[in-house]
């Protein structure tokens, strides 16, 4: 984490130039709930790959993909998420999310939680982007699949 923070310091301007993160949010939790998801829209201007994430509120952070297969919800950790150049990648309910696991505290609506996204560019150079993600209510993000 310290390494990521240091990397972030030196790379902030480059990261800001290459990667834009829009509308980040985290789903609120109940007391003692051990995990929750973060959602956002990530655009990498030159293309890259989201390879890791971290946050001071969680001991473990993973990149997950959710899929509905024959009415069964399946969730899997993935090694990374490709960010095609210039295309907005949605991390949203029903698709990818950053999973904050082994939470150190309850995340309440209105809290602001820093999450560091580590993005690797085409030359395998890593940059860290710190996102300040507001916590929304548990019931947020209701977006039923349209028929």
């Amino acid at each position: 984490m310290a390494a990521i923070a240091a990397a972030h310091k030196s790379l902030t301007s480059a990261a800001l130039a290459d990667t834009a993160v829009k509308d980040p949010w985290i789903r609120g939790t109940v007391v003692r709930q051990p995990a929750t998801g973060m959602f956002a829209q990530i655009t990498s201007s030159k293309g890259g790959r989201l390879v890791a994430a971290s946050s001071p509120v969680a001991n473990v952070v993973e990149i997950h993909e959710m899929a509905l297969v024959d009415n069964v919800m399946k969730m899997r950790a993935v090694a990374g998420l490709d960010l095609p150049a210039g295309a907005a990648m949605d991390l949203k309910p029903g698709g990818f999310h950053v999973m904050l696991i082994d939470l150190k505290q309850q995340l309440k609506q209105g809290d602001i939680v820093p999450v560091t996204l580590v993005i690797e560019d085409m030359g395998a150079k890593r940059e860290a982007v710190v996102v300040q993600a507001p916590v929304r209510g548990l019931a947020s993000g209701h977006d039923p699949v349209k028929h």
Partner: protein, 200 residues
């Protein structure tokens, strides 16, 4: 696990054959959800509420029951299903008093009764979160043809599970299977039909 998988396949086949039999009938299907009135699934449940009281269908007598099986850590399917239930209640207006929404945890090892209580109340104060032992959770899920399994992730585990909600009519008969993609309006419309049946 493979047995569960096959019972899930059987469920999908029966759902599609039920849909087909409705589709072939000369009368247009009246429900937008899948009619499972004659399926014989989930006649009742025997669970406990967060206060430790035994709860079965009879405790919600006279109300329609919308029941969903999930787990608290579920990042989007469960909150989406419960948020839809909130919207269904809003659409029903004063008839919302005639609907009880129940969330049953498939992960009783992590979802303690107090957590369940706080979780469902974050959506609506009238919602009820029920749980039971690990073994009885399996039996209950089997009765409702709910598929679920633990899946290890890097740090912990998650749950694959059916994203279907079920509806009991006010007389306590299991009537409808509601898919994850159905809108709140479609479910509210189906519930109004069930309420009229009761009234008529």
């Amino acid at each position: 696990m493979s047995r569960r998988y096959f019972s899930w396949l059987a469920l999908m086949l029966s759902l599609s054959s039920l849909t087909m039999s409705v589709g072939c009938h000369p009368v247009a299907p009246k429900f937008q959800s899948t009619d499972i009135s004659n399926s014989g699934w989930g006649q009742d449940f025997h669970l406990r509420d967060p206060q430790g009281r035994k709860r079965s269908l009879a405790d919600y007598g006279g109300k329609a029951v919308l029941i969903f099986f999930g787990f608290i850590q579920c990042p989007d399917v469960c909150p989406t299903a419960l948020s839809r239930a909130v919207e269904i209640k809003r659409l029903l207006g004063k008839d919302s008093q005639r609907l009880q929404v129940i969330f049953v945890t498939l992960d009783p090892e992590r979802d303690s009764p107090p957590m369940l209580d706080e979780y469902v109340h974050a959506f609506d104060p009238s919602f009820v979160g029920l749980s039971t032992t690990l073994e009885a959770t399996q039996t209950t899920a089997r009765n409702f043809k709910v598929f679920y399994q633990k899946v290890p992730t890097g740090a912990s585990y998650t749950m694959d599970h059916s994203a279907i909600s079920y509806v009991f009519d006010p007389s306590g008969h299991l009537r409808l299977a509601v898919t994850h993609g159905q809108t709140a309006a479609s479910v509210a419309a189906d519930l109004r039909i069930l309420f009229r049946e009761k009234a008529g």
